[in-house]
Amino acid sequence: MLGLILMFLINISLGSVDIDLLDTIRILAGSEVVKDSHQYIVLEYRLPKALSAVVVGCGLSISGLLMQTLFRNPLAGPYVLGLSSGGSLGVALLIMGSSLFGGSFAIMAQSKYAVILSASLGSFLVLLLVVASLWRVRNTMALLIIGLMMASFTSAIVSVLSYFTTADNLQQYVFWSMGSLGRLNWDDLIIITGLLIIGVLVCVGLLKKLNAFLLGEDYAESMGVNTKKTRFLMIAITGLLAGSITAFAGPIAFIGLTVPHLARQLFNTGNHFVLLPAILLIGSLIMLLCETFSQLPGSAYMLPINAVTSFIGAPVVIWLILKKQNLIF
């Protein structure tokens, strides 16, 4: 917890403009200001960004944990529901498709909210398709494969679009697909924080049932759990959290997959009553860490956040496997 607060402060104090830690704390505490520009940078840019990192880290970690428990598969994450691929498709169609259709589309593509809207729509539609297939297949493993195929399919469409689009549009799309927490302003932040709070509350209500799910749905059912309802809620929360995060911040890889594993390793348990607080803590910490790295402290350059999370996430997963010779859900 202390580490989280410290990381939070360090994250805010670092950036292309040099503001020292004490000044940052002073600004946050609302005491007398050294420089107006510093106050503006901290309050209007860095603070929402750091808070976004916390909310995004928490939201993606919850989604990952729920998907791993639902699919009883250690490699599951929010992406298995096709959320980020759906979001990417939506944005790709908006940005790159607009040049093909021309006209008012091209103007719309420039608006930030058009991007958010199309990402949400894309995520939602793909999620709907995956969930609709739930009616036909009861087997969760089959659903996992459907989710992965959906991701391949949408990325194929994106490839085709990229091939035919202009260099400018392609660049714009690639920028979006790299993710950024800096896109969120206070209003956006309030929306996703609200969704996160809803997600966490529903999740707390489900904790006991999630533990039953660790034995499989048949056992859960035999212990009195309404598995259909629980499964629906798990998917709904994941869709809500991961979908909105992708819409606002772009695709962010590996957090949802890695954080639950780190929590299991650190606390040596699969018990969701321990795991939920643990992933909220670890998720925010890791996301802040990635965000701090992405600013390349001391320089004016920024790395794309999606690349940084993969940089850190992928080796961590490999390290966990090498250490335990296994990954468990």
């Binding site: 009883r72 209500g205 904790l207 006991k208 533990n211 039953a212 660790l214 034995l215 499989g216 048949d218 056992y219 059912e221 035999s222 212990m223 009195g224 759990v225 309404n226 299991r264 040596n268 348990t269 699969g270 018990n271 009553f273 296994n326 468990i328 859900f329």
Partner: protein, 252 residues
């Protein structure tokens, strides 16, 4: 307590897989379910548990159809042990057995002293106390099976349904599990229903046998089965014969 079945047709879709005129499952009895592969043993167990819709007919507990019980009520009547299940490896034995208390605990899953006592009883009875802090994925097959039976026992239901509980076990561990099942049914007064291919052993230890043959599900006491000739027809092959003298099936 009794679980009764009346003119039951079971299967995943029409046409039915098997039909039972009448079945009566009483607490205090050890009941084996026998049938060739694909005859419907698992289907029968799933139907009795209520997780699989029956095609027609009724299953009653205390003269009330099981569909009329709420899920959490049914969870206090029937517990199950699956033949294969992927259990999270991140759970300790004690945690898994404690999960058996879910139908009784509050929304936070906190164990009362009664719950704790039931968990301890299960740990002792199934002789898995030494394993209680071990992780599930570090156990041998025999240990895993005992843990899952302990979980069902901790659920403290009058009916326990087990799907092939000894299939992956060697002879020694089979004997241990059979012995435990017998204890649970006779001493703890539970109805233990389990399917198995170890037909010879079942003839020795069970009170009743439910045999599924040619789409018919028939129940009889072991003595009655031994007296009539039907056992000889269980396998269509001429290479397997039932020997009444030794009460054994033989490969010719």
């Amino acid at each position: 307590m009794k679980l009764q079945v009346d003119q039951l047709e079971i299967g995943y879709a029409k046409p039915k897989l098997a039909y039972a005129e009448k079945l009566k499952i009483e607490t205090g009895k050890l009941i084996g379910v026998i049938g060739v592969n694909g005859s419907g043993k698992s289907t029968l167990l799933n139907s009795l548990q209520g997780s699989l819709k029956v095609i027609s007919g009724n299953i009653y507990i205390k003269h009330k159809p099981i569909q009329s019980y709420a899920k959490h009520e049914l969870a206090k009547l029937i517990s199950i042990v699956k033949s294969q299940a992927e259990i999270s490896g991140a759970l300790k034995v004690q945690e898994i057995i404690s999960l058996g208390r879910q139908p009784y605990t509050d929304w936070l899953g906190r164990l009362s002293s009664v719950d704790q006592q039931k968990v301890d009883d299960a740990l002792n009875l199934l002789e898995v106390k030494d394993l209680k802090n071990r992780y599930f994925n570090k156990l041998s097959d025999g240990q895993k099976q005992r843990v899952m039976i302990a979980r069902a026992f901790a659920q403290d239901t009058p009916f326990i349904l087990l799907d092939e509980p000894v299939t992956h076990l060697d002879l020694y561990h089979q004997a241990i599990v059979f012995d435990l099942l017998k204890n649970i049914s006779h001493q703890k007064n539970k109805a233990v229903v389990f399917s198995s291919h170890q037909i010879n052993e079942l003839l020795d230890i069970c009170d009743d046998l439910i045999i599924i043959m040619d789409g018919k599900i028939m129940q009889n006491s072991v003595e009655n089965w031994l007296q009539n000739d039907q056992l000889n027809h269980l396998f269509t092959s001429d290479n397997i014969k039932f020997d009444k003298e030794t009460k054994r099936f033989r490969l010719l």
